[in-house]
Amino acid sequence: MVDLAISVGQTQTPEAVLFWVLAPLTVAAALAMLLVKKAVHSAILMASVMINLAIFYIAQDALFLGIVQIVVYTGAVMMLFLFILMLVGVDSSDSLTETIPGLRPIAITAAVGFGGLLVSLIGRATLGRNAIGLEAANSLGNVQGIAQLLFSRYVWPFEVVSALLITAALGAMVLAHHQSIQVRPTQRQLSTQRFRGESLANAAGLPAPGVFARHNAVDVPALLPDGTPAANSINATLQARGDMLTSGTFELGRVDTSKGEEK
């Protein structure tokens, strides 16, 4: 470690042990977050970083923030991330090829410079006094101390932030709202269409999948009386996805009349 000009007091040994065990883990998880290919793995690593940070908060006498970190970040925010990942598709792994040539070396050089700047600044800063610690400020309890500040000095920012939260929720609802392009036909309209259409072929409804086939499953087409598969018995979504089984394998064999039994 660099010899520090900033003298903020020595902490107790247990905290040092905690720090030197958890800090490398945190940095490793954060670095791995950059390097793994799948977004889901990134999310899991991010959650571990957040839990480690919560432990650091609690170790630094910020009990309320530590709990809030676990509840809000690892609980709510990471769940939201995973939810959106599931929605967008877990398989969409990121291509790690760089699209802008030379971006990665530039980014890493800039980051090393920036990080070095920050670290050297922290190393050279002088406070001129020792760390005070939060024993006096937390004398009534951490939550009570924060509440006293939040509802007196910061009551106006607190109200503004509540307005921000409501605006964000409204914005998310507006963005996620899906305007349907066409009007959905009612049951009455569908029925009229079926009987007053050009032909009465489908008047009794489309054939159900799996009927007369050897497998009673939704991805197997029904077999018509002459043994050919009925393509319209499969759900259009399954057909579009290509999840339907090839009907040829389920077609009935030609009836051999000489032996009087089916093959």
Binding site: V8, E15, A39, L53, F56, L65, L85, A172, A176
Partner: protein, 99 residues
């Protein structure tokens, strides 16, 4: 151990998050890296709060968390909207304004 070590850790995490924002292509991973940067700033706030013996830093960190939550809600809604129309969550594909 010195309490300033937390500041070094915070600086390191912030830098890693910044690299992630620039390098990664998946919009969701980019968002997670922004969250990492905000979390690193929070760690610095909490550490300074302890160094100064003053709870103001913790209150600011609390406000940062609320703002981060708002940002996640709106940002993920935007990602879902883009994904719905373009079938992709890559930040490189959303370049309609360029053309």
């Amino acid at each position: 151990m010195d309490a300033a070590n937390y500041l070094y850790l915070s600086a390191l995490l912030f830098t890693i998050g910044a690299v992630g924002v620039v390098v990664r292509r998946n919009a969701i991973v980019v968002f997670m890296c922004v969250e990492l940067m905000l979390n690193a700033a929070n760690l610095a706030f909490v550490t300074f709060s302890r160094i100064n013996g003053d709870l103001n830093g913790q209150v600011v960190a609390f406000f940062t968390m609320v703002v981060a939550a708002c940002e996640v809600v709106v940002g993920l809604a935007i990602i879902v909207t883009i994904y719905r129309s373009r079938r992709s969550a890559s930040v490189d594909d959303a370049s309609l304004l360029k053309r």
